[in-house]
Symmetry: C2
Subunit: 352 residues, 2 copies
C-alpha cells in the first residue's frame, strides 16, 4: 500500500470525463457541507447556444424531462383528435404525476375511453410519490396499481397512439415496437441527432431511455417552446401540449411539486419538467428558448435549485418568484426540532 | 446574455474548491448516468497517511460518523460504570438506529435507569428510518417520540454523563454546556485539531457539528481502533465501545442497514459508522487503521459503495463479502417492473 496523494494528475485520471462546475451547494452554517456539480444548456429554436455551463456535449439520460417531446406523437398522428382527448389528458401525457386521486382517475377513464385497462400498461406499479396518496393506500390496505405509476399518462398516450394506428398494444414499451420508433423519429428531428448512434438504456417505466447531449435537448425544448418553424402538424401539437401543461399544472406533477408550483405561478409563461437523476428541462415560449440541465450526481434538491437559478438568470423569474418558490429554489436545511441550520443555494458566483 | 463556453478557466473559477475525483458511478446500461465525487483518507494510529484520494485536508462535517468518538466521554468519565451500563447501551451510544422496537425500548429503559425520561432528550422527534417501524407507528396512529430519533442513544449517553457529573441536564446540546465542551476536548485530543478554530454548525439532532479534515477524522478512528498508545482510561473506553458495537451490530443501526450487515458479517473485525450527507468512517482494529470518507454531494448510495470499495482495497473485505453485501456495495438499478437496468459501482479505475 502506498500513499496516494490527491495530485492534479491523479484527479484527472480518475475524474473522466472532466469535472463540471459546482452549481449548487448545501450549507451547514457557517460552512458549505455538500456540493453538486452539473451542466446547463440554454438554446434558441435556431440552435444557437445562448448560455452554457459545464460540458453540454456529453450525452446524458433526460429521463422524464422530455415527456412533452415524447407526447407530440399522440397529437400529431391524429390519435388525440380521434379519441377526443382534452387538455387534462394531454397534460397527463407530459406528466410525472404524484399518483393522487385526480391523476389516477383521469388516466383510468382515459384508458377505458380507448378500450383498454390498467392491465394494458407496461410501466409497472409503485406507491404514489405524493405522501397523502401513499398513506391513503396504506391505510386502505390497497396495493398501488400501474395507474399510480408517475408515468401512467405517458403510457396511456403511447397506448392510445398504438390503438389509433392499429398496432398491437402488447410490447409497446419495447425499442422495436413501432410506437417507440416513431417517438424516436420525433426526437431525432427535434434534437438534430441520430439517436440510434447514441447509448440507449431502459427507463424506470420500461421504455427506451435515449442518451443525448444537453445542448440538443435544450434545442428540442426551444423548438417545442417556439414551434412556428416546425411542420404545421407538429407545431400545432406542440402548442396544444404547452397549453395543456399551462392549463393543468396540477396534472403535470401534483401536491408539493416544483413543476406544478412554478407553472401555476407563472401562468404557463414558463413550462418546466423534471426527470429522475437530477434532470430538468424548461420551455420558455416568450423568449423562444429551451433549457436543459443535469446534476452530475442525480440529486433532485440540486436540480430544483439550479433550474430556478437559471430561470432567474434569464429574467423569467424574479426575486419575488424565488422567494415564493423558496421551498424548491432555496430549501432550508433544518434540524429535527425545526430550527434552520443551513440552506441549499446556488454556488457562490453561479450563474454569472 | 452571452455564450458562456465550458472552458477550463470557467470550470476552475466556478468549482472552488478544486474538484475531487469521481469515486462512484451509477449506470443505466450501456452508459454511466450519474457520478459521485469524493475524498477518502486511510490513516494509522501514529498519524501516517496510508492512502488518500481527493482533498483530505478540506474540513467536512463528519456528522454521525464520529459517534463512537463522541461516546468515549460516557465511559471514560466513569458514568457508564456508575450507572452499570452494558454493551447494549454502549452500542446505542454509538448508533444511528432505525427507531425499531429494540432500539426505542432500550433507550427508554436506559433513560429511566438514570432518572430521566424521553422528554429530557433534546434531539427532536422523527419517524423511524426503518420502514416496518415507521409503518407500525402510522398504523397505530402513534406519533414518533424523541426516543425514535436515530441519535437517541448518543443523547442518552450525554444525559447520563451530565447526571453523573452533577451538571444540569437541560441545554446539554448547547455548545457552551460542559458536556459538549468535554466531548470537544476528546475530539481535539484524538484528531490533533483545535476544533474551536474550525467552523462549527448545528447537527440534525441539535448538538454542535464540528468541521474537520478527513485526514484528522481517519487518524482519530485509527486511535479508536488501536488505542494502546492512549491514556489507560481512554484506551479502555475505546475497547469497550468497539466490543459493544461488535457484539450488538443490530443496535448500531438496524434492519436493512449497511453498518449492521457489515459488522455482523465481519464479526467485529471491521467497524463502520455512517453519517448524514455521504460520510462513513471505519475502524480496523487488526490493521490499526482508521478510514474516513465524504461524498461531495452527500449521497448515501455512493458513500456505501465507496466505503465497501476502500475496505476491499485494504483487504479487509474480499469478493465474497462484496457479493454478500451487494445491496449496499453494488446496488442494482431497477425499473418499476423489477428488471435490472444498471448498477451503482466504483468508478472505473478506482480505487487503485
Amino acid at each position: 500500500m502506498t500513499v496516494q496523494k490527491p495530485t492534479a494528475k491523479r484527479r484527472a485520471a480518475a475524474a473522466v470525463p472532466p469535472a463540471n462546475p459546482i452549481l449548487v451547494e448545501a450549507t451547514r452554517e457557517p460552512a458549505v457541507e455538500s456540493r453538486h456539480a452539473g451542466a446547463v444548456a440554454v438554446v434558441d429554436a435556431a440552435g444557437r447556444t445562448v448560455a452554457a455551463w459545464g460540458d453540454v456535449e456529453r450525452p446524458i439520460f433526460p429521463r422524464s424531462a422530455i415527456k412533452p417531446l415524447q407526447a407530440l406523437l399522440l397529437v400529431e398522428c391524429g390519435a388525440a383528435d380521434a379519441f377526443k382527448l382534452g387538455a387534462r389528458e394531454l397534460a397527463l401525457a407530459c406528466a410525472s404525476h404524484g399518483g393522487e386521486p385526480a391523476h389516477v382517475a383521469t388516466v383510468t377513464a382515459w384508458l377505458a375511453s380507448v378500450g383498454l385497462t390498467e392491465s394494458d400498461l407496461e410501466c409497472g406499479a409503485h406507491p404514489p410519490s405524493a405522501e397523502a396518496a401513499a398513506l391513503a393506500l396504506l391505510r386502505a390496505g390497497t396495493a398501488p396499481n400501474q395507474c399510480h405509476n408517475n408515468c401512467s399518462g405517458k403510457h396511456a398516450a403511447m397506448l392510445s397512439a398504438a390503438r389509433y394506428l392499429r398496432l398491437p398494444t402488447r410490447g409497446y414499451v419495447r425499442p422495436d415496437h413501432r410506437i417507440q420508433q416513431e417517438i424516436g423519429r420525433v426526437l431525432d428531428d427535434l434534437t438534430g441527432l441520430t439517436l440510434g448512434k447514441l447509448p440507449c438504456g431502459v427507463d424506470g417505466c420500461g421504455i427506451p431511455a435515449h442518451a443525448m447531449p444537453l445542448r440538443n435537448i435544450a434545442h428540442a425544448m426551444a423548438r417545442f417552446a417556439a414551434p412556428d418553424e416546425l411542420p404545421p402538424a407538429r407545431a400545432g401539437a406542440a402548442k396544444r401540449l404547452a397549453q395543456a401543461m399551462a392549463a393543468h399544472p396540477f396534472l403535470v406533477a401534483g401536491t408539493g411539486r416544483f413543476c406544478t408550483a412554478l407553472i401555476q405561478r407563472k401562468q404557463g409563461e414558463v413550462l418546466i419538467k423534471t426527470g429522475a437523476e437530477g434532470v430538468f428541462t424548461a420551455a420558455l415560449p416568450k423568449l423562444g428558448l429551451g433549457v436543459a440541465l443535469k446534476i452530475d450526481d442525480g440529486a433532485r434538491r440540486a436540480s430544483q435549485v439550479a433550474i430556478a437559478s437559471v430561470l432567474r438568470h434569464l429574467g423569467v423569474l424574479d426575486d419575488g418568484d424565488i422567494e415564493a418558490l423558496g421551498g424548491f429554489a432555496r430549501p432550508r436545511v433544518t434540524n429535527w426540532r425545526g430550527a434552520e441550520v443551513g440552506v441549499v443555494r446556488p454556488a457562490a458566483g453561479w450563474p454569472a
